[in-house]
């Protein structure tokens, strides 16, 4: 079994008192340790089955995003629930062209989301610019800005494609290959 490493602070004054028989540690050390054990599999199983996403309709794909969360496709049955506030959400879906004016707002939404969090690029515009790749007002190369886990091509992709994207994200999380957590 791996060893729990105690964190040693730089300053002598910050050093906690030595208590015989007790090893001091920090919470990040514990979670780093857990990542190497079977317990992480259990945590990931929990995470992958409740992927809540932000409703952030930014373009044509936003319409399909709305329908995916609604009655007919009903992603609630997979634990994928649309949330209006980014603070409740785990998954940011970039659903359209990112313009130079909107990019700061999108980064702010990303910052507001609590970790662990994932990004899905939904539609051609978010992946490579789509039909607007040459426009003067869109920002390109979104994958350099956000750690994208799943790309969904299509203009716009159908609702089934988004469900498939979530399934792939679940598989990635289960296999510990996602970018939401550093293993």
């Amino acid at each position: 079994m791996a060893e729990v490493k105690a964190v040693t602070p730089n300053n002598k004054e910050d050093m906690p008192e030595e208590i015989p028989g007790v090893m001091t540690t920090s919470s990040s050390a514990i979670s780093d340790f857990l990542k190497k054990t079977k317990a992480q599999d259990l945590i990931n199983w929990g995470r992958k089955n409740s992927l809540w996403f932000t409703v952030n309709a930014m373009g044509c794909c936003g319409v399909e995003l709305l329908s995916t969360g609604m009655a007919h496709y009903d992603t609630d049955r997979f634990g994928i629930i649309p949330r209006n506030s980014p603070r409740h959400a785990d998954v940011l879906i970039i659903s359209g062209y990112v313009t130079k004016k909107y990019l700061p707002a999108l980064q702010r939404i990303w910052d507001q989301m609590p970790a662990p969090k994932w990004v899905i690029c939904f539609g051609d515009c978010a992946i490579s610019g789509g039909p607007f790749y040459e426009s003067y007002s869109t920002a390109q190369n979104i994958d350099e800005i956000f750690p994208v886990d799943v790309y969904v091509p299509g203009c716009p992709p159908r609702c089934e494609a988004l469900i498939q994207a979530f399934v792939e994200l679940q598989q990635k999380i289960a296999a510990k290959k996602d970018k939401g957590t550093e293993y």
Binding site: I127, G129, Y133, Y136, T138, N141
Partner: protein
Amino acid sequence: MDAKTMIDSLSSQFTGTIYDVSVESDIRIIAKVKPENVKDICRYLKDKLSFGHLCCEFAVDYPNRNEIEVVYVIGSYDHPVVLTLKAILPRDNPEIESVVPVYWNANWYERETYELFGVKYLNHPDLRPLVLPREMLGEWPLRKDYKGFPNKTARNLV
């Protein structure tokens, strides 16, 4: 009242300021106006000829002729005639009187034309950029000689 009588009434009221009138069909008229009279003409159109609906207002850039055309497309809620008015401005310093006092919804059209073409509207209540970020003001992206289009920054391009 049909298109012919409307344009007759307009030209008799503003002799010399309206020229190149062409009646394309029963419901379409195109005319050119002197830029300094645009507001008065619009006021007359709205009050007397019931052209109460400004469909849109925009600009067209003609670098060869060194001109920018400001186009007003004015319709009506009462009759189907649509009148297209064109005011020709110099390309170096395009300035024209704002029609916001007459047509309230010209506000955004003029803000947009300002940021995309650099047409300066005099006496506009709030001439700020509408759709572009503030840093891009002064680039006039819809002019024909704009350098930033097509944008080649996309890495994934073949």
